[in-house]
């Protein structure tokens, strides 16, 4: 089995965070980028060939993945391959949709002649053994197996919702239904038998009305054609990080001992590309509680329930609470950062104030996570309100 990882999405709901990079390259949990999770899952599941389909702002992601070595994907006869859209004799086209992206790379897939193909998305934080899912796929003799995860009923209408029969086969697939019939959400993870996939991608391609999307087009078409569609129920942590709030939530989950996302499991390590920095230093005036800090950081202020990525500096008297700070950001003396995301290389000036506690708000619905975008330099004393998002051109003093 080989894996095809869809990493071309812009993730526009992440706003300034994905202005210059694709969503799978967004930093997460101090040491990681989102793509580390599906890549590590592949390697830990015994998959040694991964095609990574890129389209939107691919440079940061391509640089990060490189030859795949940090994930042990620098392999002879396999490994990690970055697959951007390319020109061909019959003309060239951008990837029109998830299905079209795979269709355009059938020649790549054929080089490895895999019996099965796993289609993965680069948008979620989860640990999953794809080999168990493959075992279900084989056992049921399915054309396609779809991984599902139970979600809270009130959120079900945000997802592709599946219904299944008692034998574990798909009976109905509804994309973002208003009145969901179940709370089993598609995780956007599919295993296909290669020849079935080829057949339905060709059919999909021939249909001018199709949006060339797996969830919207290919899966319903296969179901309608009476293919055996198995459902694989995943139990465990699975989190979409598609919005600022969900990205912040998913990071806070790392600090929450009650959340079943174990990053310490020696049998299922999450690998990442290391930035080559010395250990971090906690200064004489620092106070650090309930937080995660990694290499290259220099902390002389207060940290509470926060996550620092590599190379972050927190000056004397600065306070960082309930926040995530991305690589190489600088939080200067006396600044106060609460319930916020401070993006890569951003600078929070002296005594600036970013975000607020929800309980401090007069109007609770006005509360939200504040964001200082990548490379933004907030001047001293600047104020960033809750829910406010500062991009590079919007920085201002108040």
């Amino acid at each position: 089995m080989i894996a095809m990882l869809l990493a071309g999405g812009q993730g526009s709901r992440l706003s300034v965070l994905t202005k210059d990079m694709a969503k799978p390259a967004v930093p997460y949990g101090g040491k990681y980028r989102i793509i580390d999770f599906p890549l590590s899952n592949c390697v830990n599941s015994g998959i040694d060939t991964v095609g990574i389909l890129t389209q939107y702002e691919p440079f940061e992601l391509s640089e990060y993945v490189g030859n795949g070595q940090p994930w042990d994907l620098d392999r002879m006869g396999g490994g990690a391959f970055i697959l951007p859209p390319y020109q061909r004799s019959g003309g060239s086209a951008w990837y029109k949709g998830t299905a079209n992206a795979i269709y355009q790379n059938m020649a790549f897939i054929d080089r490895f002649s895999p019996e099965y193909i796993a289609i993965l998305s680069g948008d979620h934080i989860y640990k999953m053994d794809y080999s168990k899912m493959l075992a279900v796929h084989e056992e049921k003799g399915a054309a396609c197996t779809i991984a599902v995860c139970e979600v809270p009923w009130e959120e079900a209408s945000r997802f592709g919702i599946l219904s299944m029969d008692e034998d574990g086969f798909l009976t109905k697939f509804a994309e973002k239904p208003k009145h969901p019939e179940s709370n089993l959400a598609s995780m956007g993870i599919y295993i296909f038998s290669t020849e079935k996939l080829r057949h339905y991608l060709e059919e999909d391609e021939a249909d001018p009305a199709s949006a060339n999307d797996f969830g919207k087009n290919v899966i319903p078409r296969m179901l309608a054609a009476g293919e055996k569609m198995a459902v694989y129920a995943f139990k465990g942590y699975w989190k979409d990080v598609g919005t600022i709030n969900s990205l912040w939530d998913a990071n806070m989950d790392v600090l929450n001992p009650n959340v079943p996302l174990d990053l310490y499991d020696p049998d299922w390590k999450i690998y990442s590309r290391s930035p080559v920095m010395p250990p971090h230093y906690i200064g004489k005036d620092a106070s650090v509680q309930d937080s995660m800090v990694t290499e290259g950081c220099d902390v002389d202020g207060t940290l509470d329930f926060s996550i620092l990525s590599s190379g972050v500096t927190v000056g004397k008297g600065a306070e960082v609470r309930y926040s995530i700070v991305m690589p190489n950001a600088l939080i200067k003396e006396g600044a106060k950062v609460e319930y916020a995301v401070v993006a890569e290389r951003a600078v929070v000036g002296e005594n600036a104030r970013v975000g607020r506690k929800p309980e401090d708000m007069k109007e609770p619905e006005e509360w939200g996570v504040a964001v200082v975008g990548p490379g933004v330099e907030l001047p001293p004393g600047a104020v960033v309100a809750p829910r406010e998002i500062i991009g590079r051109k919007k920085a201002r003093a108040e």
Binding site: K269, P278, P279, H280, K284, V288, D290, E295
Partner: protein, 373 residues
């Protein structure tokens, strides 16, 4: 400087006997240092950051942990098709005498290898120099001055109690006038860093001569014996640098990392120190953690109180434990109620509940690998 003009040679095991505690199971080059490093990372990274692409490491004894650490040299960008890392242990030829007793003997055993290198200049370094040095200006000055050997040195305050250091004395023209072996001196001296730049053809002649005379010391049979015949010069290295010659030195070198100017000198952004990557999770601080003036490495879990310390990967300080002025190596666990001060723990040490251990600043208490107290 073309990247194949210079050959780097790192000789290990030169001072192992000085820290017998730490080197019972490993060579000095693979002694853990500064949270995530091994001593040899500095020599290797300095070579790579100076554009040297051919580096040979010459171990002598108990080098399994060193080989494990170095692997193919990929972490130092030395897994190369052209040049790259060569590890040259003893018993390389049937005539070799086995383990080495000095640098010249080590070099004699790898003579064919040195000859085969296209380089004209050799940078010869010990494996235990903790410094961030750009060798390029040293090589340039060596060539410009037409020196036979250029010795890299730092300025340091010495005292009669210090041992195992070698001060250099230069005449008014900058030529080496004298070198002392572990003298009892005071005040500021030019302390040799055990890094030398040398013309390859001369090195080969000197090695051959040493073999013929059955001599093996670079300091005695080359530097001292030939200082009046050959042109030996010095090159001053301004940054922070140290060599660990005793367990107390090792303790203080680790503690020096708590000073911002030392970290700035040792870890500049443009010349990183590379080491093997272990894919540990970020360090985790608990609800009750109290940490000040401490260097912390990924994989640590801190729930107790820590001050003025250096914590290596995977150290776990449990709630209610107190750690002051300690160097704790990988996976050390300090249990609730334990209080430890001026202690060095080797890997996998467990200090169980309520134990109180204390060394002194000038005589830290060393706990060997795997001990459960």
């Amino acid at each position: 400087m073309n990247e194949r003009d210079v050959l780097g040679i790192i000789v290990c095991n030169m001072h192992d006997e000085l820290i017998s505690e730490l080197t019972a199971l490993r060579t000095l080059g693979s002694v853990p240092f500064g949270g995530r490093y091994r001593l040899i990372d500095f020599a290797l990274s300095n070579m790579v950051n100076s554009g040297i692409r051919d580096v040979s490491v010459v171990p002598s004894m108990h080098y399994q942990s060193l080989l494990n650490h170095l692997g193919s040299g990929r972490e130092w960008d030395l897994a190369r098709k052209i040049g790259g890392l060569s590890i040259l242990p003893p018993y390389g030829r049937s005539s070799s005498a086995g383990v080495y007793h000095g640098r010249m003997e080590a070099l004699a055993n790898i003579r064919d290898y040195i000859k085969a290198s296209p380089a004209e200049t050799v940078v010869l370094s010990d494996s235990d120099v903790i410094a961030n040095i750009d060798f390029r200006p040293a090589v340039a000055e060596h060539l410009a001055a037409g020196a036979d050997i250029t010795l890299l040195y730092k300025k340091a305050q010495v005292s009669p109690e210090m041992h195992a250091y070698n001060p250099l004395f230069f005449d008014e023209k900058g030529r080496l006038a004298d070198i002392y072996l572990s003298p009892e001196l005071s005040g500021e001296q030019n302390v040799y860093l055990d890094i030398a730049v040398i013309r390859k053809s001369l090195l080969d002649e000197l090695v051959q001569e040493s073999v013929q005379r059955n001599e093996h010391s670079f300091l005695r049979s080359v530097l001292m014996a030939k200082k009046d015949v050959l042109n030996f010069r010095g090159f001053f290295c301004p940054g922070w640098g140290d060599k660990v010659n005793s367990l107390t030195d090792f303790f203080h070198a680790n503690m020096a990392l708590l000073r911002p100017e030392v970290r700035a000198s040792l870890f500049p952004k443009d010349r990183p120190i590379y080491t093997k990557v272990r894919d540990e999770v970020s360090a985790r601080y608990g609800l009750a953690s109290e940490v000040t003036n401490t260097l912390v490495t990924d994989g640590c879990i801190i729930e107790g109180s820590v001050s003025d310390s250096v914590l290596f990967r995977g150290v776990h300080i449990e709630e209610g434990a107190i750690v002051r002025g300690c160097v704790l190596m990988h996976n050390t666990r300090v249990s609730p109620g334990a209080v430890i001060e001026n202690v060095i723990t080797d890997k996998n040490v467990v200090v169980t509940e309520g134990k109180i251990l204390s060394g002194a600043e000038n005589m830290p208490l060393y706990i060997p690998k795997g001990t459960v107290i």
